[in-house]
Each structure stands twice: as C-alpha cells, then as structure tokens.
Symmetry: C2
Subunit: 253 residues, 2 copies
C-alpha cells in the first residue's frame, strides 16, 4: 500500500515553535485534515486539498484521513501542540485497530511538537522542573470520579499537575471542583499558573495561589499548571515573577 | 541591566526537531554554555564563545551563564529536549533565587523544545494519549523511597509513566527496582517502550511487556514509557507494532 499518513504537531500556535520536520510534512502533503482553527494556521499551498472539520469529531476525522491515505495519497492530519498528548495520534491508532486490515499496512508517521504545558511552563520559569503529570479534565471521555481519583493520586504523590481541557461551555463546573479537590491535599499557597493562548493573539498568563485560583480565569484555550508543595515563586522587581519546582526533593539535596 | 539569558531546548537531537525560535536564540548569542555533548550539536559561529561543561555540573553552569549575562552579554544556555523538563531551566531559577539581587532584574527567556518522551511516544504511536506522568528515576536529587511512593501513586492512579534518567553507571539498580515495584500494581502484560537516542545515531526502540522488561536494555540515553492497564499494542504485518493509550477510560466511552 503506497499511501502515507503523517499526524503532525503544530505546537501551541506561534510559528516559531513549528519544527522543521512538521513544516516539511505539511509541505509534502497532497491533502490536509484537521480541526478548522488548527488548519487555519497552515498557509495554503497550490494543489493541496484542505479538509477542515469540527471539534469533537476526532474519530470521523481520523477515519477520513486514513481512508484517503489508503487510496494512495500523502495525507497530513494536523493537531495543535503535540499530536500524542490528548490529541489526534491516539484517535488514529484507535481507528487503525478498529478499521480494515489494510490500514495496518499503511505508512503512518507521528511528527512530535511542543505541547502546551511546555510552552506555558517556559513563559513563567520551570514549574515542571521536577516530577509532574498531565491530566485532561474532560469528562466526555472518562467518568468524573476517575478524574478526582487521579487528582488525589497526583497531589498525594507530590507531582506538579498540568491540567489540559480545563473548561468549556459544555463543562462549566469541572475546573472549580478540581481546585476544591486539590485544596484538600495541597497547601493553600501552592502556586497555580493559568496560561491562555500562549504563543498566539491575546496570550494571557496569570500566576496566583491555589486558595485564590478562580475557574473564571480559564477558557478553552487555557492550560493550567498546579504546583507541588515544593514549587516556588521568585518576585522580581519590574518583571513578572518566576515560578519553578526545584530539581531536588525531600532529603535528596 | 542589559544582559540577556536564553535557556534553549535543543529537542532530543534530530536537527529537524530544533524549533525556529531555538535556532534564532542560538544565532543571536554572544556566548553558549552547556553540557559538552549538547553543545556539540550546535554548529560553531564566528565570534561566538563556547563554554562546555561536564554532566552533573548544572548549578555551576547556571551560575556561570547568569554571571556572564549580568555583565551585559547575550548568553544562550543549551539543554537537551525541553529545558523545563528535568533540565537547566529549574537550575537557572534556583540560582537566581539564591544569587545576587541584580540577577532578578536580568532578562531571562526559556525557549521550549520537544522533550524526549514526546519523541519516543511518536516513534511507536501514542502511548501518552491519555493521562500520564513524567518521573525522574535519579536518586541523586531525591530519596529512593520517594521515587517508590511516586511509582505507586502513578500506577495506582492509572497514569502512563514516562521514566527519565532511568539508569547510569552510578545508578545501576534503580531501574530494576522500579520495574519490580510497578509489577506489583500493573498487569504483567502492560506494554513498555524503551526509546534509546531517538532522533540520533544508533536510535533503538524496543517494545515489550512489563513482565519481560529488562533494565539491561536501557542506558543513559534511554527514555522509558510504561503503559497503563488501558495501553494497547496493535500488531502490523511487515511493520513495527503501534502502541497507544485510548483517549477514553472507564465508562467514559
């Protein structure tokens, strides 16, 4: 089978975070698939077909891209950030597993990218400088009580926590509940970073304490980092504070 | 204070993973600092000073780069992967906190990069497609019993686990102990990915089951991903298997 599917990470939005490998995969494609706003970040090229689709149509989008590649085309399926983190690469793998046998012979490449938590962390210092976890707050794909158990496990384990998909119109209360849950186990002074649209228009970064963390400060374009009890904030005259988690912990200095 | 320090993520090694922002930061620097082998990845530029240092000299390296920037120079401190993940950004923040007040006025920028777990995940499919954590196995900077508690918390919480710094000459037994610990809580068939030097010479990727995971398959250049009980392997005729963790979990389908 001669077709090829590249699942391409665009990074968080700033073109200066698009890797040369991703750029090359986009340039080589006969056809592009992706969520509309992500596809809009890719400049049009003559002769290249574009197939935008809506949010939450990941399965159908993955299947359409696979079908097209199986016909012999070079297809690029774009993803924001890194395609392997709460994004299209897992949807493609699931379609391959459930799809016709022929799809297993397809040449599929995953092209990594800078995922949102790395870009948000970079803006404020190094909050992910020690052990951390990444957790999606969307209960579309898993039950809420599992999310709460994972928040408990992460906080009890001393992990810094990056929260993807914190809030949306259809999921208005989950982030508030998550902060409540975390307040049971973490000091009220634990640093929290809200990183909205980092690398894009109307970027906004906010640092506060867990006690004061307000879900209203987040929207669909926000990634949140909740520190561990070790995470520190350095005040800087005339500059935004630095937030970092030291590389050592416990008696391991 | 006119100096500038950029802490630059080079990605895992393949030049096609170096972002344009990182490339620009390297080109603009008067002086480069970094662990020797990372610095070797950066082509020399006329008029640019180079200050390689040894591994495990992170604090001294960060301080030297800060001192140089505080003298008014444009300094780039290079890091493999992403500088915020078990790398130089946290060391720089710690030095700023402990250093002279003037360092707090310095213009410091963290330039994110593709961190190793994203590159390894991309090579095999989407093992990080659901909630995951990143844990350093080095007990130079934290006590071993804390690492074991975190392994327990991560496995009990159903997180996929990326293990950084799994083994070295000075830390020969830790990875075997970690596998033992994880076998208590995870099915013996849990997929494990060893990604060695991904994107560099002598890249080697191995997929096995937790039961058969052999610490001897890892070295200092290896990143390991241990799946969750949901992680799946898809056999493919004539191709390497795909490893992925579905986006849904529990009854959240």
């Amino acid at each position: 089978m001669s077709g090829h599917l590249a699942v391409v990470g665009l990074g968080p939005g700033d073109a200066r975070w698009l890797t040369p490998e991703a750029e090359a995969a986009l340039a080589a494609a006969d056809a592009l698939y992706g969520y509309g706003p992500y596809l809009d970040r890719v400049p049009p090229r003559p002769g290249q077909a574009r197939h935008p689709s809506d949010n939450r149509e990941e399965d159908a989008r993955a299947a359409a891209a696979l079908r097209h590649a199986a016909e012999g085309a070079r297809v690029a399926l774009v993803s924001g950030g890194d395609p392997g983190v709460f994004a299209m690469a897992a949807a493609v793998c699931a379609r391959i597993e459930a799809g016709p046998n022929a799809w297993r012979s397809l040449d599929v490449a995953i092209v990594p990218g800078v995922t949102a938590m790395l870009a948000v962390a970079a803006r404020v210092g190094a909050p992910l400088g020690h052990d951390f976890c990444a957790l999606s707050l969307s209960d579309n794909l898993k039950p809420w009580d599992l999310i709460e158990r994972r928040l408990d496990a992460a906080a009890a384990g001393g992990f810094v926590i990056a929260l993807y998909n914190p809030i949306s119109r259809a999921r208005p209360w989950q982030l508030g509940k998550a902060f409540e849950r975390l307040r049971r186990r973490l000091p009220s002074s634990t640093p929290v970073v809200f990183g909205r649209a980092v690398g894009r228009d109307r970027e906004k970064v906010l640092v506060c304490e867990l006690e004061a963390a307000d879900p209203a400060a987040a929207d669909m374009a926000t990634l949140i980092i909740v520190g561990s009890p070790m995470t520190r904030v350095i005040a800087r005259p005339g500059r935004d504070p630095l937030v970092y988690t030291p590389r050592f912990a416990g008696d391991g200095k």
